[in-house]
Symmetry: C2
Subunit: 229 residues, 2 copies
């Protein structure tokens, strides 16, 4: 098979934890496209030189190489117009969802789970990760998450716009998921893949939405290695 996706993992190649790789994974499945996962680790920038990029996901589809999850989504809709749309013909309307997700969900989850990540990494990647993230946060990773249980209610409250949307429709995409769902779900899969922290209460409508996403494509995301959160 000639379609491969370079994805971030730690010492276990089956535990894919980059939110952006999860966007690409779900996008490929949405289009009904098989792919082979190529494990990639934080320090292996040389292995992506062929893509003129230094981060995953990178998709190689036959003779085409596409780096960056957003470019991959656009490419897939262009290259496979007969498969279900990811972007519904107006990519601009997904940019705000991505901005909201990165500012609120992604940043919020980061401050809740970042200290769980080093244990998943090999020695070399762990040193890189801890040093770069401690520099970014200006404190040890343990200090970042020390009061995480107390901060969970504020994180859950920050998802109120999603709850309000879910009163009108079951997915960001309407009656069926589209790339907006994958943007937000990617962050939740990141959390699920790296941390035992229970981000959502089971009676939260956001949890119901996440369950629906976990069910897609024969439970593809549900079957990925996780800590049961």
């Amino acid at each position: 098979m000639a379609r491969t996706l370079y994805e971030l993992c730690g010492w276990d190649p089956a535990r894919i934890f980059s939110p952006y790789c999860w966007r690409a994974r779900m996008a490929l499945a949405h289009k009904g496209l098989d792919f082979e996962s190529v494990p990639w680790r934080f320090t292996e920038t040389d292995r992506l030189a062929f893509a003129k990029h230094d981060k995953v996901p990178v998709l190689v589809d036959g003779d085409r190489t596409v780096a960056d999850s957003w470019a991959i989504a656009q490419y897939l809709d262009d290259a496979y117009p007969d498969a279900p749309s990811l972007l519904h013909g107006h990519p601009a309307s997904y940019i705000f969802v991505a901005a909201w997700n990165d500012a609120i969900v992604q940043a919020g989850i980061g401050r809740l789970v970042v200290s769980d990540i080093p244990a998943l990494l090999g020695e070399k990647e762990r040193a890189y990760f801890v040093e770069s993230r401690e520099k970014r946060f200006g404190m040890t990773l343990e200090a970042v998450t020390a009061d995480r249980e107390e901060r969970l209610p504020a994180f859950r409250a920050s998802l109120q716009p999603v709850r309000m949307m879910l009163r009108a429709q079951p997915f960001f995409g309407g009656d069926a998921p589209d790339y907006a769902d994958m943007i937000v779900f990617g962050s939740f899969m990141w959390a699920r893949s790296v941390s035992p922290l229970r981000l959502l209460e089971p009676d939260d409508p956001v949890s119901d939405w996440r369950e629906r996403m976990l069910d897609l494509h024969g439970g593809m995301a549900r079957q990925a290695p996780c800590f049961g959160a």
Copy 2:
């Protein structure tokens, strides 16, 4: 002319301050459609009985009556397909923007400006408004906004997703505004129409976006009565 829009005002019929009426106003202008504004006040539910609805905006377009700003946007795209699109063919993608706006922008602005509104209302509407809103907030309107200057930084911070979006594109709609812009701009026009409070710092990219919206359609929104905020 056979197109009329019932819109919320106070004693001054020119000061339209409902965010949802502003969505409808901007939507009509976007489609290039003239309309006559029919002033409507909070207690005049009888006057909307013909529309089987109790709130504005209500659009009467020839023999069609459409109540609710969202229904109006969908109607306008259906009825005038040759004019520029409001919804770009996938209405579901605007539902999250509306939910985010209502939870964050609209609710945030409400807690900053609600005490400025009674002065704009006639006696009867003022009694209705103060009683219903004080019940909703569980305190006097003056108490709601007493510390508003101290809460402004938190409101501005809550707009960070918009700033991040604006790094990628000048409007929610991409290179040009669409109905997502009108949803959020409606709330800012509400604030501008009722309160002297300066919601945004002039060097905020969100302020630049608001200026671009104020410029649309020959400065239609800019020319509306306001307090200079």
